[in-house]
């Protein structure tokens, strides 16, 4: 596998089918300021012209209105998320977290940007690289780390683990690859049925994009004009298989056939924010479903048991980390536009680290669930069978 990576590095990455076609750029710090950034009022910035590509639709406008408050809030969120994922990495290596653990280090801009343009009335459903969403959508660091550690303070009472996290505003957290896409279409159907002017974001990755049920969902969403936004988080590797080796068509935003799509630079949080707003407006004006592809990158392996360097080179990871890191990009925006000084941002860093450390300690102090919790949350109250078998034949629980 490592030898293949070395061969592939020599071959230039094929990004587009036609020569001289515009390709998306994925740097995180190419947004330009229009005029002086105001500290109190919204100001306009201009995204790089290659931040979007469209399929059967016009791309979103490159002029985005942002506020200093929002930018600093996003910076704090992304830093907290990065620290939390790193803490989860360290806890896994100390064998306090067991089982599966899929970290989203490098993909913070997608989750924070998505959350920034949505409300808690919108549905977001995703796969299993979803730790950031727990923190953003109503949970907190303690409940996320507690769930990974298997403690009672976790979002699923410690009984679910990394791939089973849900909050009131986040619909999970699903283990089967691509299974959440039909669920997302169903959630959109429910919203349309109830006449709600909200959106559903059904997220999946480039590895799941070739699953059959994804296309079935596309068909139903387009047929019944559902307010469903299909979000493909293209981090270029499906486990250990690069997108070029897995998909005949790597332009995932064109895979919707009649469903229009946009490809977005997933490393620039302002582009993600703009694309999400565009998508929400799209479905709220009854234009039907939309496909949004965020081109992003993950620094870690697929999960904690994958070192991440057998199918790509460490140089590639380090290059993207140093040139296209979303947090560093936002940091550059904030300091270049004079919104905050380096020391202020460092202070936010340290605050975030302290917050995460404190939450991790609190979560570690929480107890494991009691053994009687093995039998709760299986059936609705009143619908339990008379008895249920446990882990082996001798263990029988009578409700």
């Amino acid at each position: 596998m490592a030898s293949l990576a070395r061969i592939r590095v020599a071959v230039p990455r094929r990004v587009s089918l036609q020569p001289f076609a515009r390709t998306i750029q994925t740097a995180a710090d190419t947004t330009q300021l229009h005029q002086d950034a105001s500290h109190s009022e919204p100001f306009t910035v201009k995204l790089h012209e290659d931040s979007f590509r469209g399929y059967r639709t016009e791309t979103p406008s490159l002029d985005v209105e942002v506020t200093k408050e929002n930018l600093l809030k996003w910076y704090r969120s992304m830093t907290v998320i990065r620290r939390t994922e790193q803490a989860a990495d360290a806890l896994y290596k100390q064998k306090l977290i067991r089982g599966f653990c899929h970290l989203a280090i490098g993909q913070e801009a997608v989750s924070v940007g998505l959350d920034s343009a949505t409300t808690f009335d919108d549905n977001i459903i995703s796969s299993y690289r979803t730790h950031p969403f727990v923190i953003l959508r109503g949970g907190d660091i303690k409940s996320l780390i507690g769930e990974l550690l298997g403690r009672v303070c976790g979002v699923s009472k410690g009984k679910g683990g990394s791939m089973h996290v849900f909050t009131e505003a986040f619909q999970g957290g699903h283990g089967i690859v691509g299974a959440q896409v039909p669920l997302g279409a169903g959630l959109a159907f429910a919203q349309k049925y109830h006449g709600k002017k909200h959106a559903t974001f059904a997220m999946y990755g480039d590895g799941a994009s070739n699953q059959g049920q994804v296309f079935e969902s596309f068909n139903m969403a387009k047929l019944w004009n559902l307010p469903c936004i299909f979000v493909c988080e293209n981090n270029k590797y499906g486990m250990g298989t690069s997108a070029e080796r897995s998909s005949s068509n790597t332009e995932y935003y064109t895979r919707g056939d009649l469903i229009p799509g946009i490809q977005v630079n997933g490393m620039d949080i302002i582009a993600v924010h703009q694309a999400t707003k565009f998508a929400k407006d799209w479905v709220n004006s009854d234009k039907g479903p939309l496909l949004v592809e965020f081109v992003t990158y993950r620094y870690g392996g697929h999960s904690m048991s994958d070192p991440g360097t057998t199918y790509r080179t460490r140089e590639e990871i380090q290059r993207i980390r140093s040139t296209q890191d979303p947090i560093r990009g936002l940091q550059r925006y904030i300091s270049e536009w004079g919104l905050a000084s380096e020391e202020d941002l460092k202070a936010i860093d340290k605050e975030a680290k302290a917050e995460v450390d404190a939450a991790v300690e609190e979560a570690k102090a929480s107890p494991f669930p009691d053994e009687k919790e093995l039998w709760t949350d299986i059936y609705s109250a009143g619908f339990e069978p008379p008895a249920m078998r446990g882990r082996d034949r001798e263990e029988v629980f009578r409700f």
Binding site: D89, A90, K93, K95, R98, P307, D392
Partner: protein, 311 residues
Amino acid sequence: MQSLHHVSKAAIRASTSKRWISTSAVRYAVSKLAMPAMSPTMTEGGIASWKKKEGESFIAGDVLLEIETDKATIDVEAQDDGVLGKILAPDGTKNVPVGKTIALLAEEGDDISNLEVPADEPASSSNPSQPTPEHQAKPAPFAPSDSEYPTSARGEGTHPPESHVPHHSRPLFPSVIRLIQEHGISQGDVNKIKGTGVRGMLTKGDVLTHLGLASGPSGTYRETPPPDLKTNAKKSVKEAAPLDGITVRRLIVGNMLEASTRARAAATPVQSIDFDSIIADYLPPSKPAPPTPTPEAFTKPKSATFLDGLL
């Protein structure tokens, strides 16, 4: 390193202590690098080689060191930017348990010349080991439970009080369990009942015998086969006829014939029993059956009764 410490301490201490007092805003952040478990089953490993030297700075994603596990040599990457402060486990250290501090990391710009080795905390992996034995002890009672039927201690607690679940060193038949529960046989009595089943299992007959409802563990079952219907029919016919000369001669000839056929049967090995011979026992005696080579057991009682009548 030690000598450098001594030389520089005097010179630097004044300035560094001033620094520490004045720059209280900058956190003096030294973090411990613990031995990571590169796989979920790893308990200890060796340090193969350090890729960074003390004082060298690194960025997130750089390889700090290589760890040797029993399976492979794996790179350990840094999570954050920083400076390698002090290496506590040099190259070649073997059998480092997971969780032990192997280095101290500092942030850029922090003074690292006075790094003190903190008292080594017990490995954090020992913390969950306390709750886990508790949880392992709880399922243990389920495992060595002798009964293979769903008679767990928990189940017993939620049962209605009148039916107690019996235990036995061998598996219990459902019929046996039902009998025990219906008649309320206590556990002590259950242990006293002798099991005559396979490998000492309790049978229904054992329990019934204990209750006095049966004469023995096998009841009215007899090892001997049932009396042959054919022989009974012949017996009644022959006893009815008077014993005159003709009858006696007939008897003698019949006896001799039977003896010879018996001898012939003994000489030849008994072939597979055919269907007719088996069901003939159950059919009514419509025609006089020819003397077929019958098994030894059936002829024995016949000859005994004939002789009784003759002598």
